[in-house]
């Protein structure tokens, strides 16, 4: 058969159409979430339940990771600063990097792994076993009942746990400092926070909120549109984690540019 323009274009056209459909669906999904989150009516019970599941259960993980991060960063940075005789800068340096970058990003990545996979798998299992269809058939708006509480809870809890993570990291830094001689906590505290501005804190928390939005939205989307079968659940969980982690790095790069502009 002589290839015609028609046969050559066909696969390209179907690819373009499928990308278009994907984009259309993602935009629709985001708009529906926004509408449900802004206009209500709110599913308060679901929201609180999700906040509890997402926040409370991640707290130990975030706290331990934060603490260890503080200790490790302090121990590893000490020799470099000691070369310049600048160990007194240690608390400020470690704390600044934790507040500006490491705290939000590490907590975000932990959330992408723990919460992203949980939400993705849960909704995918509900999709596969027709539970989402059953909710829709009861005349309940699934965006209000399933999506909005999960995304909003992810945003809220990521911001709160990022603050926790920062606090635990600071404590870890203090412990790290105390491995070599005793440093009074008051002195440490003053030194550590000397270079942290209000803008640092606010921009970090806004960044965390955006991370939470991305994680929540990606995971609920992957779960909500999961394909049938057990492999659909595994795929949804996996994609949630991979895409959410990627999103965190991309948002981080953009956020750095934006905050540099304001500083």
């Amino acid at each position: 058969m002589i290839p015609t323009i028609g046969t050559a274009i066909k696969p390209i056209a179907s690819k373009v159409i499928s990308i278009y459909k994907y984009l259309d669906r993602s935009i629709h999904f985001t708009l529906q979430y926004t509408k449900a989150a802004l206009a209500g009516p709110y599913e308060w019970n679901e929201l609180f339940r999700q906040c509890f599941i997402i926040g409370y259960q991640s707290l130990p993980l975030v706290a331990i990771t934060g603490l260890i991060l503080g200790i490790v960063l302090t121990i590893q940075s000490r020799p470099t600063l000691a070369e310049f005789g600048a160990t007194s800068w240690l608390p400020a340096m470690v704390t600044t990097s934790i507040f500006r970058e490491v705290g939000p990003v590490i907590t975000g990545l932990l959330f992408a792994g723990k919460i992203g996979s949980a939400i993705g798998a849960e909704l995918a299992a509900m999709r596969v076993s027709e539970q989402i269809d059953a909710i829709e058939v009861s005349g309940v708006n699934t965006y209000q009942y399933l999506i909005a509480p999960r995304v909003t809870a992810t945003i809220t809890m990521l911001v709160i746990l990022t603050i926790f993570s920062m606090a635990f990291s600071m404590f870890g830094t203090y412990l790290g400092m105390n491995l070599n001689g005793v440093l009074q906590f008051r002195i440490f505290y003053v030194q550590a926070l000397a270079h942290i501005s209000f803008i640092d804190l606010i921009s970090s928390l806004i960044k965390s909120a955006i991370f939470g939005f991305a994680i929540g939205l990606i995971a609920t989307y992957q779960g909500f549109y999961a394909t049938k079968g057990t492999s659909g659940v595994a795929k949804a969980a996996n994609k949630s984690v991979v895409y959410a982690s990627l999103a965190i790095f991309i948002i981080d790069v953009i956020a750095v540019q934006v905050t540099a502009f304001f500083r």
Binding site: A125, M126, S129, E130, Q131, D133, A134, I135, E136, V137, S138, G139, V140, N141
Partner: protein, 247 residues
């Protein structure tokens, strides 16, 4: 538009549906009259569940028209669709119980938009529905701790709890022993009488079809090939019908 206003609760005209290259429903026409129990029989994979999902707007056909309770499902606004769905009962073939909720919460879920009911009234309805299906003592159990047949009966209780005007049962008796299946068939009839509801009952179970049907449609490869009462269909010369309907 050729949509005659009738008393039919469901009327479907020339509905086509494809999944990719696979033609699942082919130019289907269907009506359900008020108060009628319509049984749809057909081989596995012929498109029965998909048809039921089209009627409640879970699946969109490629062409055709669907009117349910005097609303056009394909052009209805989302809010109105939700309001309409609250008047329809739907039993999923898989049961589709909510894993994260106990039995009582599962049953109360369809009542959440019925603001006229207070907590006590809802509790009474849940207890009544559970008693209907003979599982009153499983009030606080989780779905995962029940057997397949029990889950089916809970799902049935959840379907009828809103006292729907129209009910779609997707294989209400599959997976049940003959005695329970008979009880369920009798329950379907008592619901028809008590709620004056119309129903579409999808089944392969001859006993269930025979007990519950006012009219039977036989489906094959996405199209209806025969219609009539059980006795009429037993006389049919079509092999596909004979295979499904015999004494």
């Amino acid at each position: 538009m050729p949509t005659a206003t009738t008393t039919d609760l469901v009327s479907i005209e020339k509905m086509n549906l494809n999944f990719g290259n696979h033609e699942v429903l082919k130019a289907l026409n269907l009506t359900v009259a008020a108060g009628e129990n319509l049984v749809i029989m057909g081989r596995s994979g012929c498109g029965k569940s998909v048809l039921a999902k089209c009627i409640v707007g879970l699946v969109q056909p490629d062409s055709g028209s669907i009117r349910v309770l005097n609303e056009s499902i394909l052009s209805i606004a989302p809010n109105q669709l939700n309001a309409l769905r609250r008047r329809i009962g739907f039993l999923f073939q898989s049961g589709a119980l909510y894993d994260s909720m106990n039995i009582a919460q599962n049953l109360a879920f369809p009542l959440r938009h019925h603001k006229e009911l207070d907590k006590k009234a809802k509790r009474l309805l849940v207890e009544e529905a559970l008693t209907h299906v003979g599982l009153a003592e499983n009030y606080y159990d989780m779905p995962s701790s029940l057997s397949g047949g029990m889950r089916k009966r809970i799902a049935l209780a959840r379907t009828i709890i809103i006292k729907p005007e129209l009910i779609l049962y997707d294989e209400p008796t599959t997976g049940l022993d003959p005695i329970t299946a008979l009880e369920i068939s009798e329950l379907l009839i008592s619901i028809q009488v008590k709620y004056k509801a119309a129903a579409i009952i999808i089944t392969h179970d001859q006993a269930c079809a025979r007990t519950t049907a006012n009219r039977i449609l036989v489906m094959n490869n996405g199209a209806f090939i025969a219609e009539g009462s059980y006795a009429q269909l037993m006389q049919s010369a079509i092999p596909e019908v004979q295979a499904l309907v015999h004494p």
